[in-house]
């Protein structure tokens, strides 16, 4: 049962983040885009935290976050965006979707792991 779902269309980033979180003793599942992320989240109630890219094919990360709240009615899971995007407008849209935080790529594992653990717990 996973605690954290990592959603990124880049396998390079997906594996890097997942491997790092696993090395910290966390259970991790992965998804390749927003649509896949929604499906994985629906199928695994143990997921407490989603770390997602924004720009992805099929469904972007912000749309996924909005659907997690609006369609799946899931308000228990925390969502963090890990993305190259840094525009206030996008962050505002993320806040409105109830996401908890924003990380600008590249991923710096040690710097954020404490917060992720806190959010995941």
């Amino acid at each position: 049962m996973a605690q954290i779902l990592v959603v990124d269309d880049s396998s390079t980033v997906r594996n890097e983040v997942a491997d790092f979180l696993k090395s910290q003793g966390l259970a991790v599942a992965t998804a390749v885009d927003g649509k896949d992320g929604l499906d994985k989240l629906k199928a695994d109630a143990s997921i407490k935290l989603v770390v997602s890219d924004v720009n992805m094919p099929n469904m972007d990360g912000l749309t996924m976050a909005e659907k997690i709240r609006s369609e799946q009615k899931n308000t228990a899971v925390s969502i963090i965006m890990l993305t190259t995007e840094n525009s206030p407008a996008m962050k505002e849209r993320g806040k409105a979707a109830g996401i908890k935080g924003w990380i600008v790529k590249p991923f710096n594992g040690p710097g954020v792991i404490a917060t992720l653990k806190k959010l995941a717990s």
Binding site: T12, E85, K100, G101, V104
Partner: protein
């Protein structure tokens, strides 16, 4: 002509009069040109250079290159047929004009000049190669954030950056390239990365340890894709205004790719900004550096007068830090 510009251009110098080398060399330096000279003067050697250098801005050709009258012009015909996008500047002995050349031959050249009168060449270079001014702050910023992205993805390599330059070439380096659109109030076009599949894949395999031994071009695709994503994101965060509402006309032109010839056209003859990064493995100093080329093609809009760095960029959180809401 330039001097304060960060950006130079590479030109193939086909001029074999030794007494003139210093003169031409000084002129090239003054104009921001990096001259490349062939070791051999025969046409086959010159064409081989053209095939191996995909990042030229133009060609400076002496009409008697090769030794006899007519040999230089014959070579010009061959070059022009193979690479019509490259401007050729013709040095003549007597007159700085196309006098004595038939119309078809004269049309191959951007200008004619003599060593005694380089003004025509100077003016023609401005129009042909340096027709686009890329702000130094932009070029420096691109170089910095791309280098940082490469360091993230290739942690076992040192990254060197060559002096940025302008290219008229439309040839694609290597077997793999990425392409992503850039859309802002002041520039619209594309960014590309180009690389040799095997050379970069070997770097990744060695960095990947036992698992990396089985990596294929798909892993390379992922890494180059992420490199493109990181550089694109940095460009947007720095240079695309946050009030950019995408209300500009969404004009597009076809992009034409000829796989057999390794050729790509964006429908514009304007010089492209090219940056070449050299990846050197720290633990294998004897190994050849692996190049990755980055090109910017602002074919849909280029208004450098409106270029600005995002005023809020200083207040943005550093990459990798978590901003909690």
């Amino acid at each position: 002509m330039k001097n304060d510009r960060l950006v130079v251009s590479k030109v193939l110098v086909l001029d074999d009069v030794a007494a003139h080398f210093e003169h031409l060399k000084a002129f090239c330096e003054e104009c921001g040109l990096v001259g490349i000279r062939p070791q051999q003067r025969d046409a086959a050697s010159v064409m081989a250079i053209l095939r191996s250098n995909v990042d030229l801005g133009g060609i400076m050709l002496y009409e008697r290159f090769g030794g006899t009258a007519g040999q230089g012009l014959a070579l010009a015909r061959e070059i022009h047929a193979a690479r019509p996008e490259l401007p050729i500047f013709l040095r003549r002995d007597a007159v700085a004009s196309m006098a004595g050349l038939d119309e078809k031959t004269a049309a191959m050249f951007r200008c004619a000049y003599t060593l005694a009168d380089l003004q025509q060449l100077r003016s023609s270079l401005e129009v042909s190669i340096f027709s686009r001014v890329y702000p130094n702050e932009l070029v420096r910023g691109i170089s910095d954030f791309t280098r940082a992205s490469l360091e993230t993805l290739f942690p076992l390599c040192d990254i060197d950056t060559e002096t940025p330059y302008l290219v008229k070439d439309r040839l694609i380096y290597g077997e793999v390239f990425t392409l992503i659109a850039i859309d802002s109030d002041w520039c619209r076009g594309y960014m590309m990365f180009q690389a040799s599949e095997e050379a970069v894949l070997e770097l990744l395999r060695r960095a990947g340890g036992p698992e990396g031994e089985h990596w294929t071009f798909r892993e390379l695709n992922n890494v180059l894709g992420e490199l493109t994503n990181l550089a694109w994101g940095s460009f947007k965060n720095r240079y695309v205004g946050h009030d950019n509402r995408g209300e500009r006309g969404q004009t597009q032109v076809p992009i034409i790719i000829n796989h057999q010839r390794g050729f790509i056209s964006f429908g514009s003859d304007d010089p492209q900004l090219c940056l070449k990064y050299l990846l050197r493995e720290r633990h294998r100093p004897e190994a050849a550096a692996v190049p990755i080329f980055q090109r910017f093609v602002f074919n849909l809009n280029w208004s450098p007068d409106e270029f600005r760095e995002n005023p809020s960029v200083e207040s943005l959180v550093d990459a990798g830090e978590l901003e909690l809401f």
